[in-house]
Structures are given as C-alpha cells and as structure tokens.
Symmetry: C2
Subunit: 349 residues, 2 copies
C-alpha cells in the first residue's frame, strides 16, 4: 500500500450526511484508483450505504464513533466537548500521520477550530485562511480569506497572497499566477492602511510573486487576476454576494420564462446552452474550501453539498495531498522571505 493515498472522511457532517457523503466517496474512488478512504461515523448507519453505493471492501475502513457535531450545535461547545466526534477523529488521523487529508461537510467554524487545534498552524504563518475556487470570465480563480479572519493586518494579507499563489499553482498547474489585493479603488491612496501596507510588501518581493496590484469586487467575476486576496470579512461578503446575485438572476429568469409561451419554447430550444451555463456556474463544481496555513490538509465541503459536490471536495483534497500543498507553502514562504531579506532588507514582520 506504499503508493496508496489515504483520505479521511467525516461521514456524519453536512445536511445530507451520511448518504450524500458515502455516495460522494463512491464517485471519487472511481476516478482515483490509488486512494483509500477512512470513513469516520456510525458503522450501523454507514454499512447499508456502503452496500447501496457498492464501495469495494478493499477501498475503505470504517472508524466507528457515535458522536456527531450537529449543524446547530453551539461552536464553542462543540469544539470543547466534541473529542469523540467523527469530525475530530477524522482530523486527528491526519495529525497522527494515518491519512494525508480530511474532508468534512460539517460546521465551518468548528472544522476550522478543530483543524487548527489538531494540525497546528504552519511555521511562518500567523493566521490560517479559508480559500476557495470561484468561476470567472477568464477561468477559475482562487480567493482568500473567505471568513476565517474578520480582521487582518498587512502581514496576514501578505501570507494569504503567498498561500493563494501556491494553492493556484497546484490546482491549475500554472506557474506565476497573478495576485490581486481587493480594495475599493485602484489608486494607491485608496482603501485601508493595512491593504496599502501589504501592497508595499508584495511589491518589494519583486519577480518572486506576480503581484498585479489592487483589484475591486467586479474583478472577481471578470477574472482580472488568478488570485484575489482579502480579509475574511470582505471575502465572505463577496462570496455570499456572488451566491445572492446568481440566485436573483436565475430566479428572475425562471419567473419570466414561466409567464410566456414563446419564452417557454425558446427556453426549451436553448436548454442545451443553458445547461452549459449552469454547469459552468454550478457551485458544486467549485465545492471544497481549503484551510490554508495548517500542518495538514483540511477541506471543507458546503454543508448542503450533494454527492457530486462532495466528490469535488474530495478531488480537491486528493490533488492537494498528491502535490504536497503544506510543504510547498512552507518552501514558498522561506523563498520569498529570503528574497525580501537579501534584496532590500524589507521583511513581512
């Protein structure tokens, strides 16, 4: 089993768990022959699903536990008292070296906190961040932080830029992705002080990072840069504003189509095209937010993920594990810091 990659799955987290989780595993394992799954959860509930979705015996092992972190559990309480939960145990298996990544559709706050406690923050990183892949006119982009840190200083933003750069390179096999700092104007004097400071530091890195400068909210959809860096408050607002806008447009479109026979016929004719649009914009394709900056790979699936969406989160975890995300981030940090130290004496801290 030396070439086998082990991925830990919190089989009990999420709105449709454990059914959609196990079905998601069944989709992911067909595409990834060398991956073995540790499934954390209630064995009695999991076994019928293992049979239903025909998971081969040689591809999984159930680690039984009764305890579950529920979606409406108070995070502070769940974090303190959830040490027997499927989520905690799945993360601990990464910490203890039994698996290379964990995937959970459970509560974000709890998963982030437990991942921090169990895996620890990576050397050189002050605060981990949540990163995700979003659709844009120029292809998928990476955005972070999407909610882990409501307030950030310039050092945090610089670290997010470096982590986002590495994350993008692994996911899309493209060297030297462009990195933009989210601001409310492209002029150098605009926005908050910490953002202007971070821009100064990123510029001082010279050619070691492809820093584009400031971007604005519309640049996310336009895909102006490959990576968009921001604090967790603005990032979360942007992420959810995209969701709300897409919902507004799709619902309005549906209402209008319903009102006219011609529109309905037109809609039916355009259906293959509209399906392609839906597929391109499908949030399930982009499921799998990543906690960057930890000593281990922890991927958060959307709580409402279906099996297809959950399998995408697993794919992300596999990709990051196969490409040694964590050590690459550490290497990149050292590399950039060295350059900054030797080139002009500026450092992040």
């Amino acid at each position: 089993m030396s070439d086998t990659l082990v991925i830990s799955i919190d089989a009990m987290g999420g709105d449709h768990a454990p059914d959609s989780i196990i079905e998601g595993v069944s989709i992911a394992l067909k595409k990834n022959e060398d991956v073995f799954f540790f499934l954390y959860g209630n064995e009695e509930k999991l076994m019928p699903l293992i049979e239903k979705y025909k998971i081969p015996a040689e591809r999984y092992k159930i680690h039984h536990t009764d305890a579950i972190i529920k979606a409406d559990d108070k995070p502070s309480h769940a974090i303190r008292s959830g040490r027997e939960s499927s989520m905690w145990k799945a993360i601990m298996s990464v910490r203890n070296g039994y698996s290379k990544a964990v995937v959970s559709a459970g509560n974000t706050v709890v998963l982030m906190a437990m991942s921090k406690i169990c895996l620890g923050t990576a050397a050189g990183i002050d605060r981990p961040a949540i990163a995700a892949i979003l659709p844009s006119l120029t292809g998928p982009i990476v955005a972070l932080d999407l909610g882990a840190n409501a307030e950030c200083n310039s050092q945090n933003l610089v670290e997010f830029a470096i982590m986002g750069d590495v994350f993008y390179r692994i996911m899309f096999k493209k060297e030297f992705p462009s990195v933009g700092l989210l601001n409310i104007g492209s002029e150098e004097t605009k926005g908050r002080e910490e953002i202007r400071e971070a821009a100064g530091v990123l510029k001082s890195f010279g050619k070691k990072i492809n820093f584009y400068g400031f971007v604005e909210g519309n640049d996310i959809g336009l895909g102006t840069t490959n990576v968009v860096v921001t604090d967790g408050f603005s990032g979360n607002v942007a992420l959810k504003t995209i969701e709300g806008t897409a919902k507004l447009i799709s619902t309005t479109l549906k209402d209008i189509i319903k009102k006219s026979v011609l529109s309905k016929i037109g809609f039916l004719l355009a259906l293959p095209g509209l399906r392609a649009l839906k597929k391109k914009m499908d949030p399930r394709m982009y499921n799998g937010a990543m906690f960057l900056g930890l000593n281990g790979i922890s991927v958060k699936s959307h709580g409402s993920a279906d099996a297809f969406a959950f399998s995408h989160a697993i794919e992300t975890a596999i990709n990051l594990a196969q490409n040694n995300l964590c050590s690459k981030i550490t290497d990149e940090l050292e590399h950039v810091m060295d350059v900054a130290d030797s080139s002009n004496g500026e450092t992040i801290a």
Copy 2:
C-alpha cells in the same frame, strides 16, 4: 415660480458629458413639469445640445463656466483648485439656496468631498455615507455605505441605519422598512466588534426602527431586508461584486447562445422575456447614488451613465427634494435619540 423645484445639474461631469447629460435632462423634464434646471457648464457646448434635445427656454438657465473636473484629475488637486468648475458651482447653488439638489456624473471622490465642504455634514451625523438602490428578489432595496468610509465605528453604522431607513421610506413610500446589518454569520458572536456593538444599539431603539439583525452577502440579492447597512469597504466590495457576477453570467450566456443555432432560435423566441429580465436588472434603473448625511441633496450618477440612466439620477434627486430628505433625517435622528435617552438611558455616542 413658487411651486417650481430647481435642480442643479453639473452638465460637464461624466464619460458622455455634456451630450448624455442634456439628453437626460430632456427625458426628466417631460416627466416632471414643475422642475426647472440650472445647467452648469460651457455655454458654447451646451447650446447646440439644448437645441438638439429641444429643451424649452422656460425650463432651464445656463450658468456658464469653462472649468471642468476631469475623470482622471487627481482628486486632492481637483478639490483644492476646482472652485470654478461646473461641479463646484452646481453644488454651491444648493448651499446658497438657489436650488434644492445637485446631480453630477463626475468623479465620486471629488463630488463627495466638495459636497461635504459646500453643504456641510448634518447635525447629529458623524460621517455622511453613499447609499444606492439595488435590485433584489423582493424588490428594490437600499444599501449603504458604498464607499465613502473605508472604516466605520458602531456609531457610524447606527447613523447609516437611521439614514437608510429614511431614504427607503421616501423612495418607496413604505413605513417601517426592515433594516439589516451586514455580517459574516447570523450568530450574535460573529463578525467585527463594531458591528456587534451597533446591533446592540439598534436593538435598544425598540420599535422605533425595524431592526432585523444580521444579514449576509447573499441577503442583498435575496432582498431579506429593505435596507442593508455596512461599512464603505464591504459595501463597495459587495456593490462591485454584484456588477462582476452579472457581467460573468450575461457574457457566458451570450457566448453559449452564439455557439448553437438552436440556442440562437430559442434566444430569439425568449427575447421579450430576456428583455424584461434585462430591464429588471438594468443598472440604469438604479442609477443615482445618494450622499446621505449632508445639509443638502447631492446625487451621484454613474460616470458611464447614458441619458436614460442620468434621467433616473435626476428623478431620484427630485423625489428626495420634494420629500425633504434632509430635514426628515434630522427629525428621525432626534426622534430615535429621544427614545433611546428616555427608554433605557442608552445613547449612540
């Protein structure tokens, strides 16, 4: 002329000025028979347009000036040295009581700064805010601040809530609009301290303001509340993210339609419906951002506004002037403060 409302127009600001400005005036004056326009700008350039768009002589007066604030002028320089500009003079006419509102499509930063200098900040208001009307699933909503204040404290947010409440009531003739505070989670412990503090103050106002609690980015498109209150950084990010997402969806849709004959035919059949969607989402319908919290009405049109969009900004200015926006904000502030003082001793400051 006792019942005539006078509106000042910066005829030289904006990407398509003065042509689209004068055409916009011609659209607005047909709908508003009792409005008279002061047009600030170069008489030689304006006169041919006055003829082209058949503006009746009894509906306007040109106040000639050669100086213009250009879109790429450095704001700090423009503010200092732009006292002869069409923008400055148009604002000053409001200050001096010759007109009731000013509309400009010129540079936002300059317009905001000049409006503050000329009109002054309203009593009881610490910082003015930029408010705009946005489309949502439940109808138009009001959002503020959209970029005037990159950082805000709890007092600013509370004042924005009160001003947004008044603005919504005037624009949509609905008493007791619901007001939400933008946050990154609906739990009371989430987000930044100033937001939690502002929520506490708004709750203390009891029934005097219809405070909904926290909303998230997706609630803007969903129209969960009539008013969304946030700091100028997050508000600007949200506003521009809506623009970018709409652009992403519409461009992707167009590309897909181009690729298939069936889609094209379907698209043609659905065209009336799609036009209705476009109309509902048309940013021109929502043109006209308002600077709230000044001693006078100053409306900012999008710089790229066409005549139709500019006429909407004029309509907003007329509506706000006819309904005495400024005195209503002052009254509401006093009213809410009184309640807070007498009910439980809490005040905003």
